[in-house]
Symmetry: D2
Subunit: 347 residues, 4 copies
């Protein structure tokens, strides 16, 4: 059994790491840490832990030595904090998977432009690997530091990769109309996330300059080997989890729903975590609730020449904790799907 630690155990991403690692057959949770919750029993953070041994575990402080005893730590902490903690873990021989933004970019200037702080550990950027297995598996295999992708970028990049690789777009503009469940906004209470305000409501937010844009532009550009631009409009859906991404793209002449569905099915034929749907169905966020899978459909609107790609994933699983464990499996040379094969919870 590998020993793993979770830093930032109290947030939703931390909680999802707990849920998934609790059932992982090859990893054991050795340390749970949280700056604000240190000293409390784990069940006070997540009532799901009542009746389990793990629920009695005490939340540790961020500098607790148990963390350094781990084979790997997951960092689910604010950007900036992760980069400050990482050098110490690496020096202690602990692999690091960061679920925030600190190790997603090679270019510290890009990081600083969007995150408004100088990068705290720019010397590690060359070594850090972007953890989207479907695109970057080979590089992940030998890494000791992984920058886990954002939830929205995972949905966009998986949705657009087959079209970019096969050069099937007539324009470099990706219009990404994203819809996310509320857990994507974190666990801290906010007036605009109060149940009574959100329930029954649907709205956009934060446009037009969401921080996930540069991540998409960098990696979509690499996948397609030419520059792309992203216009991203996120929306808040009154559901706890789930992202549905709708991509509006200009297609080349002659594309059909049938032909592009074939392209997608071939592209992802060997991928265990991506399901390209038959033409008779469309993705549901709930079909992947709690699951590490991503569902994708593609449609061609022949009247206008537009391609519409729809991708659905659970923002806390394939969009965060599940993908991080997929990366952990790769780092530990385990079968990539170990502990990640659960079906979505329906209904």
């Amino acid at each position: 059994m590998f020993k793993v630690g979770i830093v930032g155990a109290n947030g939703y991403t931390g909680g999802e790491l707990i849920r998934l690692l609790h059932k992982h057959p090859e990893a054991t949770i050795h340390a749970l840490a949280s700056r604000s919750q240190a000293g409390r029993p784990a069940w006070e953070l997540f009532p799901t832990l009542h009746g389990t041994a793990l629920g009695q575990a005490t939340i540790l402080d961020l500098n607790d030595p148990r963390l350094s005893e781990c084979d790997l730590v997951f960092l689910a902490v604010p950007h900036g904090v992760a980069a400050e903690m990482t050098p110490g873990f690496l020096a202690a021989g602990v692999k690091v998977i960061d679920l925030g933004a600190d190790f997603r970019f090679k270019d510290p200037a890009l990081y600083e432009a969007w995150y408004k702080i100088p990068h705290p550990a720019p010397e590690l950027l060359a070594e850090a690997v972007y953890g989207l297995p479907e695109i970057n598996r080979a590089a992940i295999r030998g890494a000791r530091l992984v920058g886990n992708p954002g939830c929205y970028p995972t949905a966009i990049l998986l949705g657009v990769a087959p079209l970019l690789v096969h050069d099937l777009l007539a324009s470099p503009l990706i219009i990404a109309d994203g819809k996310s469940g509320v857990s994507g906004a974190g666990r801290s209470p906010r007036p605009d996330l109060h149940f009574a305000e959100v329930t029954g409501d649907f709205r956009a937010y934060g446009l037009p300059n969401h921080r996930h844009i540069p991540e998409v532009e960098v990696y979509a550009g690499q996948i397609g080997k030419k520059e792309v631009k992203v216009s991203f409009t996120p929306h808040l859906v009154p559901i706890p989890r789930g992202i549905l991404m709708t991509l509006h793209l200009a297609g080349k002449t002659g594309a059909t729903t049938e032909s592009l569905t074939r392209v997608f099915q071939d592209f992802y034929a060997e991928e265990p975590m991506v399901a390209v749907l038959p033409e008779t169905d469309l993705p549901h966020t709930k079909a992947v609730l709690g699951s590490n899978r991503c569902q994708i459909s593609v449609r061609v609107d022949e009247r206008t020449g537009q391609i519409i790609v729809l991708s659905a994933l659970d923002n806390l699983v394939k969009g965060a904790a599940g993908q991080a464990i997929q990366n952990m499996n790769i780092l530990f040379a385990l079968p990539e799907t170990t502990g990640l094969t659960d079906l979505g919870l329906w209904p």
Copy 2:
């Protein structure tokens, strides 16, 4: 008091007409009719009617003579049925507002192409008036037959009209990414509308050829005096009511959020039912829950040149019954907002 009748009183649109007309100070509900529910007391259709006199009213059959005693009837019935009933009402001197698709088009061929039946009363199409007051108020004033707009088209046309009138778009393509509450799909039970399936889920449906497309292309073309094309992707939101429309448009060089917000505010300055929001806010569907208002914001993504317009309305009010009553007020020469000034229900 004007006497009005509602045909199709059992559906959600019919129910919303009941709710709004029940409090209208100048109209009285003279007849409620429904093919399937005739003979039942009204409270069996809507439990909101318990404790009211109207709740004791008996639902009439579609050919009940009380309907012909009305000054105006609202038709909330399937397409095709409305066109069959309308000539009789007009002959009896009863004005008609049809909330379905039968009188939205001048061209019967277009109707037939999208609705798959020959138009049952093509001779009335020349006279019928498209009932979007903000665009077509003058024509509505003298009409006796109004085709009330669709819910999605209302959201799209109000969102795009200022840009079309002022010729501010660089492309004729309107990408309309629509999100609708479940009442938009009607009241009939269906497996995919079962509570347990919809709650916690978000999905697209019915793309790429939704029947609301031709309505938008015709009237957007008239507003802008040149052809437009619409790529429309509807989504189902797990809320009972509400549409949020996100329009992705190619802007001309130099547009800014500030300049376009000014254009929208000027365009709708005198419109009581359209609120262009300050730049610091964005539309909420819940802000217009039960209200006849439409909220609109516009944003320019200067990195990509894209214009994003967001419009929110209640699909059963400004998207159906409320707009129909707004039209009724115009037909009866009442102040246009009579009975329609309620605020949204928050939270």
Copy 3:
């Protein structure tokens, strides 16, 4: 037009007073005040106000002289604060309706026992009138200070009053299993009211000593002219508004659903705001969403002799702001239902 003011305009009760008074034909909102929000435009508190003149009104400080120009002020502020403000308003000739707990009790010791502070204005308790019109209408008529009932007590007292008046219970114990929408917990963000935590969840809270218990015991005791005891178990329902109260009561021999339904229907025959349902239906919280009505059903479980009473109301309307306006109508000698006849919003 009477001039009214709202103190505590930023909370959900304050917002509901705004919504209902905005459409009241005989009252005009003369002043909106809030300690924390003074100086902001009203639309920043409630996005429902976009596009209205009222939305441009500036929120006043609590000591703004405009409040004293009103004929009546509604106090929607924390307990203790209301009692401190009230003497000044009364001295200025302004009638007061307090929506909190400060004027619901005659006995300051009872107040202090449950609210843990000495009553700030005990000299006013003799004069203050409990504002449940169905029980206390005559006393309200001449009052200048009304203590508006709590939401749960309204649901319990309306549900149990016919049985108490007719002495139909075999035991003095009222088991009240209450279920409330989230707005009942107020608008302030809290970790346990975050959308992601509440959606999909159902739980009890705060038992066994909820502060609404003494209010019920006092007034139920007066109604039945003998002591009762209340065992109250509140639950949180993932809906924005609505209370469903389930009362479990020991019946006397011979009671039937039919006989008790008749008792209830007779008891409330002249009450415009209480609908006793036919035996074939049961109350829905959504049937009174946004409405000032209360729906009630009664059932006898003949196997066990238990009486089950179900009452549904909107906690912000009949449970707070609507009832306050009903009281205002009585104070101003207006027809009691003025501005309060709206149907619930369905669906």
Copy 4:
């Protein structure tokens, strides 16, 4: 690997059996059968199956011989149907776990009184075992036919068992105020289960004579060795899954929250699937979402002498499919929690 079959694979209970057995390490799904869906691929029933091998499996007819090749079949079919199919399976050496009502009673007259049909296989009732492991584990071990408990009865019996065993109640009356998510009503579309009707609503239904009453009275009577009576009031909660049961019981003098919490903790100390919560917490349905655990709290209202027990479970897991697999594990002499240790999905 044991081979198992699921009859009635298309309903929610069938789907949950699929989800749980798909990850069970010792059982393999050998046959999926459904009268109405035979011939379709499994993914058309549950979109969660996209991208899995099982999703390509063909749904079989009810008399397909593959079912008889199984070691055990789960019957998730209407009452009456299960009893008709069971003799054939038993004759073929296939163990049977019925998730309906057909094998929950020893007395065919009781079955007929509540289910309104003669029992189709009364000769099997003596042999059938009631499958509530916490109460009846020894009898289950050697069985070949198990009647899996109802969802509500599981919540009631687990909540009341410690009090009955220790004779801590002052009255034989169990007042059970139950709240269930919508999946408890099945998957068939119905007008009153339409999303738009249920969302935002809370209501009671079906009182006072729910079919789960006799099951509780029989087994609670056995547990406590004396007759009890149940007054049961079920409510519909707008959540997909979950039951919260609130039991109102008359306590004996001297009981306290602390003393009874201790009784419950001792009673369930060795039970892996029942978590008695600390006094500082209360059960959440969402804390056991997708999990086989039941959370329980007990409170004493010392003012009235009432005991309030709260129990939460997932109606499709501990209330149906999970409990059935727990029984399967016992029948196959596997560790009882095999495949059932997942934490709830939070948020």
